[in-house]
Symmetry: none
Subunit: 215 residues, 4 copies
Amino acid sequence: MQKKLSEEKQGEILHCGISEFAAHGIEGTTMQSIASRAGISVGVLYKYHADKNAFFAACLHQSLQELEDFLRSMMSAADKPLNYARTMIRALLHYSREHGDTIRLYHRVTQSDDPALVREIECFTSRLYIDYITRMQSQGAMRQDMEPGLLAFFFDNLLMMMQFSRSCPYYQERLRLYAGADALENDDLLTQQLLKFMESAFTFSQADVPHRKEG
Amino acid sequence: MQKKLSEEKQGEILHCGISEFAAHGIEGTTMQSIASRAGISVGVLYKYHADKNAFFAACLHQSLQELEDFLRSMMSAADKPLNYARTMIRALLHYSREHGDTIRLYHRVTQSDDPALVREIECFTSRLYIDYITRMQSQGAMRQDMEPGLLAFFFDNLLMMMQFSRSCPYYQERLRLYAGADALENDDLLTQQLLKFMESAFTFSQADVPHRKEG
Amino acid sequence: MQKKLSEEKQGEILHCGISEFAAHGIEGTTMQSIASRAGISVGVLYKYHADKNAFFAACLHQSLQELEDFLRSMMSAADKPLNYARTMIRALLHYSREHGDTIRLYHRVTQSDDPALVREIECFTSRLYIDYITRMQSQGAMRQDMEPGLLAFFFDNLLMMMQFSRSCPYYQERLRLYAGADALENDDLLTQQLLKFMESAFTFSQADVPHRKEG
Amino acid sequence: MQKKLSEEKQGEILHCGISEFAAHGIEGTTMQSIASRAGISVGVLYKYHADKNAFFAACLHQSLQELEDFLRSMMSAADKPLNYARTMIRALLHYSREHGDTIRLYHRVTQSDDPALVREIECFTSRLYIDYITRMQSQGAMRQDMEPGLLAFFFDNLLMMMQFSRSCPYYQERLRLYAGADALENDDLLTQQLLKFMESAFTFSQADVPHRKEG
DNA sequence: AATGAATGAGAATTCATTCAT
DNA sequence: TATGAATGAATTCTCATTCAT
């Protein structure tokens, strides 16, 4: 048990941290529990991370990095208008299943009030979405009567909730309440329904259907 | 010889708890800070509530009750198809502004994993929404190609995120990132845009517009 | 074990702190050991004192207060030229015997490098001595060929070392080495010798004895 | 293939220890900080020294050795009666300036209660002083109405305090309080004043000046 | 019934010491 | 032989909970 922790072991420790923080929250997690889970002593945690907060930040950064890498690889694939949303939904559903910890960790962070954290977490996707939407709008492939920023915002809201509903106990139960246990397990159903919802929301404006009369 | 704390004082104590829990989270709040804020001793807290968790539950229950009362009174007013969403949005935006603590408390609870809590919180609105949507669908006033449960789910997702974005620091910053500081302050803008988004999502199905070609 | 610690108990706790700090130094003393000695829980220590440093400061302050009170009462007695030094020596020897902890605590503090502490501790006696010496000099009752400040300084140096030599293990052993175990126990001997030393140092100047030839 | 660390490196390590211990005290110094400062690993410290205490003892021993060597070389020079004190004062002031660490380390040790340490530190000078004083007394060059041991003791007290006042933060501030910042910097002033004080104390007895009347 | 002082278990963090490499 | 990573006991400080008054 010597010679500087391998890159690999470092990653393993971070993942233990991610899991523990995801499961019990920042305050609910003890450095000891992380160390035990990782099979190391607390001293090691403090050797590589200044304190609990710094360690948490490292865990968060690690999980963000991995998610971004994943999304980047996914994105490069499809870029056709509606395939975009479909690809994104499927990618995120897949990721939520495989890396529930990451999503739960995310959700824990929404309790924070550090603006810097928000930026670190949301910048990547917000840019991605806004850019994409702006592009689609200019091509006439997406409704033009809405602010791209807010369109992206609603889009991300739906995706975020979908991920939480897959990974976080509270939201899982909530989805069950709304749509039954089935919706929680059935990826295809959820994908298809969300896609339908989004397609309408993103492509049609009232003007498209002149005979509608507001209620 | 007031045998028990007056109903009023009880409510005041709960609201102090709501504010403290909303501001600092469950773990970040001390029984002492609540007692001080309420101008009582911790002994009183423990007289009426078994422990911290029970007290938190009471706070939550109280704030839910108030939100439900508010929504019930709002709902009775408008019931015409699209006014429903508009009324709901406005009501919730209003409530978020006036009772940010409640929304923040609500958000804190999403960290919990107690299924009973989910029910307590979500049952009222989920039923409300599902019933309404089912009714609208049967009247032909809403698209019929989607599950009412999931339609309600997406609807609530958007409303929930809207409320968090009004009241919770993390989500406030996130909205700012997506749509600028303006969107955070301008109720009308947000209402109008969300309404547009929803109208399309709820009323149109692909079938409505035969000339659309998927991307 | 209720109702705010009595003034008395507070003092008792401080004295436990004084003893522990005196015996083991600041770092060598644990809050637990103080609490145990005082028959209380650590929580109480932290209720009345912000942290270990603050508690130490309180202990120091308390012991200083007591010493000053003692000196003030002693001082009022004798004020004739050489009685002054004799009274002071006897008072301090007495105090060292009765309150060794205070002297040891003092000595611990000399390890500190906080200028504010120095002032708190030394101001009282330095003023006392300088004032007195200045007065004596102006009356012609004390040599006038030396700076009063440095005269007071040398005076206090001798008194300080005398006290340490009575109370602090290291200095006790050192005195034993210089003058045998007897000097350590025999107050009268030490007083008499120190007084002789001081009398000469304070009253004679070279000029007084014209027949001296430097070695 | 240097079987052991060179004599030189050993000395360097000890001096790093001396500086660290002098600056932060025994408890406030970490083995790691010493190793870093010396550019070695902690393992080396433990190879040559059983534990922290043993290492501290080695540092102390080293610095004592150097001080003794210095004093021995100084002493051989002047041996005329009053030049003795002057030479000693100047030598110690010089040493305090050049090797403040040694004096500070010395001061740290006075917190210890190990009699063996006292002997190690004080034996050399106490013998020196007592021998010298006894000699002077028998020559009639020094007052004979006092115990040589206590005379030596007072002499060393004054020298010790002078050194501390030069090198240790607490005592520096204290000297400033008594005699202003000037006394702290001005070697000649301090030497001259202390010498005046000592000359009187060591050479005159009351009997020398029959016309004095005690106060 | 109300108070709030006292309790003490529990969590973060440090650092002397060991020992695999 | 030297290294320095790993260990884990020890310490400070907090706060939910109790209970004497």
